[in-house]
Symmetry: C3
Subunit: 289 residues, 3 copies
Amino acid sequence: GVLPLCSRPPVWGRAVRQPPSLLLAPCRAFSNNKILVELDESSGVATMKFKSPPVNSLSLDFLTEFCISLEKLENDRACRGVIFTSAVPRIFSSGLDITEMCGKSTEHYAEFWRAVQEMWLRLYGSNMVTVAAVNGSSPAGGCLIALSCDYRIMVENPKFNIGLNEAQLGIVAPFWFKDTFVNVVGHRVAERSLQLGSLLPAPEAHKVGLVDELVPEEKLQEKAAAVTAQWLALPDHARQLTKSMMRKAVLDRLVAHREEDIQNFISFISKESIQKSLRMYMEMLKKKK
Amino acid sequence: GVLPLCSRPPVWGRAVRQPPSLLLAPCRAFSNNKILVELDESSGVATMKFKSPPVNSLSLDFLTEFCISLEKLENDRACRGVIFTSAVPRIFSSGLDITEMCGKSTEHYAEFWRAVQEMWLRLYGSNMVTVAAVNGSSPAGGCLIALSCDYRIMVENPKFNIGLNEAQLGIVAPFWFKDTFVNVVGHRVAERSLQLGSLLPAPEAHKVGLVDELVPEEKLQEKAAAVTAQWLALPDHARQLTKSMMRKAVLDRLVAHREEDIQNFISFISKESIQKSLRMYMEMLKKKK
Amino acid sequence: GVLPLCSRPPVWGRAVRQPPSLLLAPCRAFSNNKILVELDESSGVATMKFKSPPVNSLSLDFLTEFCISLEKLENDRACRGVIFTSAVPRIFSSGLDITEMCGKSTEHYAEFWRAVQEMWLRLYGSNMVTVAAVNGSSPAGGCLIALSCDYRIMVENPKFNIGLNEAQLGIVAPFWFKDTFVNVVGHRVAERSLQLGSLLPAPEAHKVGLVDELVPEEKLQEKAAAVTAQWLALPDHARQLTKSMMRKAVLDRLVAHREEDIQNFISFISKESIQKSLRMYMEMLKKKK
């Protein structure tokens, strides 16, 4: 019944009521190069801030840090919820780092794709309450991070877009991106949005259910904290088993086809037409700057 | 193709046009201790009224009566539709009777759970048109009864709540409660509501699709009769095969895992932590009175 | 990964940029008895106009022409999108031709049903962008054609109805009609609509998501062209793989059960009660004229 990949034993009742096993300051923080993690021990809620300028792209290094940070929190009994947000203005995350997919070796593609899978398996299957506080644009893999949380709050700025826009780049979102998307917005919206590679402005994203709530930028952190507290008011054990019941089928599907999915990615990304398309896209991005 | 558990042969055309095989009064009624059943032979519609004060909780006795009453109607060619409503003010049904799950033997838990399964299999798989006329609050198992009908009408009183709030009690809704819920409100709303154990006031329940329609209390019976008549205007055979096609996958899933589901329930409910939590919940309910 | 039944190789980039392999007029047309096809080579978009008065019913001849026309376009590299519309006033298509299902031989029923399946497999699995420009009522099989497209635009006239109303005729929509419907409107709306055999006026059809957009009749062609152009702005290869990913499960299900589905149809349609019901329905239609 418990979620896969999570060795943490389920906590019964509210962890905040348990006496801390060590004398600790009310707030602990750890930071690596690309992600800043702050844990508020009084609430049991951590914040993971993406700080990898210019656009928080999901490089192999970023993904590795993300997984290590999440595992640390997952195993920390003082932590029961995580808020994901960006420390970079106007961008939540730009998604998978294209430089990792261009002109590299087969081994590198395999390692990179395994890290992308790992991030999703840990996040979508997390025992903790997970809330995305989306304070900027969030295309492709950035959108996947938001979709994999329990709840999505976005700044109401219509200049901030979100969506799985892979098709616009000539690539195809993998089946587990699609499964996660369908679980949030339903088959109809997913089919249309994925084929069009739609990037929706925040208000439209809210209308189709891609995000749950819009707030002014200055209210984002406060709202994210309030929502997380609401979810944490439930007994952990029951909430975790319920979450697992809802997500297990989709998680199991990737676990069962993981190696096949890596091979598919490698053979797709190694095609000359795809490489050419990605190079053109990167050229375009450079010119934009 | 036909629904499981229903031995009744499909009726072609409108039963009301068939000459009654016996000379019968236009309205027959039978009542046991906890449920009153009235069958209007002119319309072919029965009403099942829950009258088990104080809160129509689903005890083993209630469930047994429910199944027997439903089977009687299912086998009665004069009956083609059933309206479910409450004879107790302000409550439709409070859901599973917690006293049946507290401090009892393993054999009792097995018998109780089998009765809960049986109720759902018969109701969700019924060949008759089933309409819930929800005239009071309807948490947990009470909500399941409503969800298992073809159509849900609720009194528009915002003091009446409905939802699968098991998580609030520290327990987990079984997978077939979840499947039934997802079929009505979709994956996204189900995932959030089940994790939060949300009890929604009638207007919010209507907004997310958990109920189909709101009416003033004094219009409830009239509306329920009108809706049932609308559904009965269709040829029984086509309607029944269509209903079976929509619900078969979810019904088959419990049939295939019925004994396993009973064992899961027993091992979960026998845990000391769960027993303690349920005792605390019952104490709280007693103090409320 | 590619769609079944389509031998056409995926096109990378926009076909309109490719030099035409032959010197051709900017617009080619071919017409058989029941369907007029016009291909605008400058846009890469074909229009298939149903011209089989009085009601564009899906006879064996119509279905055969439909499949041949669609296959021609599928294999024509100058064609990347198709708009489906009617040349008959006030009706898009009345659905399956009942005369093909009444008083015919078992062999005829088998041939007819195989043609219905073939039409759906080719249309739902098409590599091209498919847009339904619904300029009239569209019950049953007519609705299926619209549901199988990528996008549905309907004239906002509330006198035009659309829906899978099979249950009203005493027959049952096959499982793949149902699967296609669920993919568009979700389980809840599909369950209710199929059981009631609902035919929804255009505005209500839009409200439940059965059609994507309403327009005044005089704007229909223009809007359909604009929408098709929007979908064609995406790289074909990525769009096609994405479409296949979304639809494959449902397509594969019919492919796997095709012969069984034909046998089911034959044994259902051969029943005297069904034959009687269809004859009564045809009588009623004749009197209406």
